[in-house]
Amino acid sequence: MKRIVNLNVNGRQVEDVVADSLLLVDYLRDRQGLTGAKKGCDGGECGACTVLVDGRPRLACITLAASVDGAKIETIEGQAKNGRLSALQRAFHENLGTQCGFCTPGMIMAAEGLLKSNSDPTEDQIKTALGGNLCRCTGYVKIIRSVQLAARATAEATQ
């Protein structure tokens, strides 16, 4: 079965026909060409496919595209505005929060979800929020540091 869905993807309104069984990660990667969300495990275990749905983190590999009809979807591709990296992107870049980069889109989107609801998280809150995101390179220390520095940079910029 197929249906028409209306989505807002990174600020752009799209109307599309999707199969009822199409997964959000496949829709974003194959139909929208947004290959930032990665397929790491393809089964809900690694967090590499994390995107924001209505501002909250979501695993796109175990989400049906049809089930988020009407929602606002944010991916890593929509984070930089007018050619300027987001606070998290900049912090990950400057503090070695990213190495091979495979986990990075998911990490940044999960962290973005956290900072949207808590602009000044403690280290434990960061660890909890990123608990479902695996990284095989960094050892996590620099990732946590990057999120802390992004939160601080945002606070300073808005002061």
């Binding site: 199969a19 069984s21 393809d42 979501r58 175990i62 049906l64 049809a66 089930s67 999960a110 479902g132």
Partner: protein
């Protein structure tokens, strides 16, 4: 993992009545948060003709609490459940268990109903289609023998939901709706010790809520898992401690070790000799469980761990 999702029709009812109608169609299956079912669909572990998505039914998302008890809608997400202050104050085991299910991103959409009805798990079952096919499938699905206990005649897959024991120690009842109307069942009676047929849910029925009486005393939940941040329980235990006129009485429920969550028979109250009492409690838990080779972790280790966790948690609640 297989790339192919089976073909199905997605129904998106907005009311319970519409959901019951949609569920009455052949080969219909409920999907709530989808955090388990979508994984299973990808692995070829289910092939429904229709998936009935409950996520638009607002009647399932309410959590009400009063002096006479608490009613938690089946569609309440585990993130909301884990952060509800009333639940934390009255039923701490439920808060602790909810916060320990999967990872934070799963909990954003994972629901109470999906957790309580969670399919049983096994090393020989939660595998891709080609993996299972090359092993001639198994008794639980598409095959004839249970590879865990080949001489037996039932599936040994382990029930691995975290919330069931936490609700059971608080005497939860389930509210179920179906073609014949609404019925209630004690949560402890909802499950049965058969990995392939583990819940008492008839075709067309769905869970609408868990109903809890006021708490009898403080409670807690502990689990062990392979990955500390995100994983099913290898063994999980909920304990509730009630002050009676004869002394402290403990209610204990377990998950992860059997094909259904189980209550432990604990007739005695805490005596003047706590060391002996807790040693007995430890033994009673070891006797109650029957962990099998359904995970990569040895059954004996899971047996010892769950008993130790139960005794430690009971001590903490004194």
């Amino acid at each position: 993992m297989s790339e192919v999702m089976p073909d199905f029709q997605l129904a998106r009812p907005t009311t319970l009545d519409e959901a019951v109608v949609a569920l009455a169609t052949p080969e219909a299956r409920i999907i709530a948060g989808g955090t388990d079912l979508n994984v299973q669909l990808r692995m070829g572990l289910a092939a429904p003709a229709t998936l009935v998505d409950l996520s638009l039914i607002s009647a399932l998302k309410t959590l009400e609490s009063s002096t006479s008890g608490t009613r938690i809608g089946a569609g309440v997400t585990l993130a909301d459940l884990a952060s509800d202050e009333r639940v934390a104050a009255y039923y701490p085991a439920i808060t602790e268990a909810a916060a320990l299910v999967a990872g934070p991103t799963h909990r954003e959409v994972a629901t109470l109903g999906g957790n309580l009805c969670l399919d049983t798990r096994c090393l020989y079952y939660n595998q891709s289609h080609w993996w299972r096919k090359s092993n001639d499938y198994c008794l639980k699905y598409q095959g004839d023998i249970c590879h865990v206990a080949p001489k037996g005649n039932r599936c040994r897959a382990a029930y691995s939901g975290d919330l069931a024991p936490a609700l059971m120690v608080h005497d939860a009842r389930l509210e179920i709706i179906g073609p014949d109307g609404i019925r209630q069942v004690m949560l402890a009676d909802f499950y049965r010790e058969d990995g392939a047929d583990y819940i008492d849910l008839k075709p067309g029925e769905m869970v609408t809520a868990a109903v809890l009486p006021p708490p009898k005393g403080p409670s807690g939940y502990r689990k062990i898992r392979v990955r500390g941040a995100v994983d099913f329980p290898l063994a999980g235990v909920a304990v509730e401690a009630e002050e009676t006129k004869d002394g402290k009485r403990f209610t204990i429920a377990l998950t992860g070790t059997n094909s259904c969550p189980i209550m432990v028979d604990m007739p005695d109250v805490l005596t003047d000799d706590p060391n002996a009492f807790f040693a007995n409690l430890n033994k009673a838990v070891q006797k109650a469980v029957s962990p099998q080779r359904t995970t990569t972790i040895a059954p004996h280790y899971r047996r010892l761990s769950i008993a130790a966790m139960a005794a430690r948690l009971a001590r903490e609640l004194v």
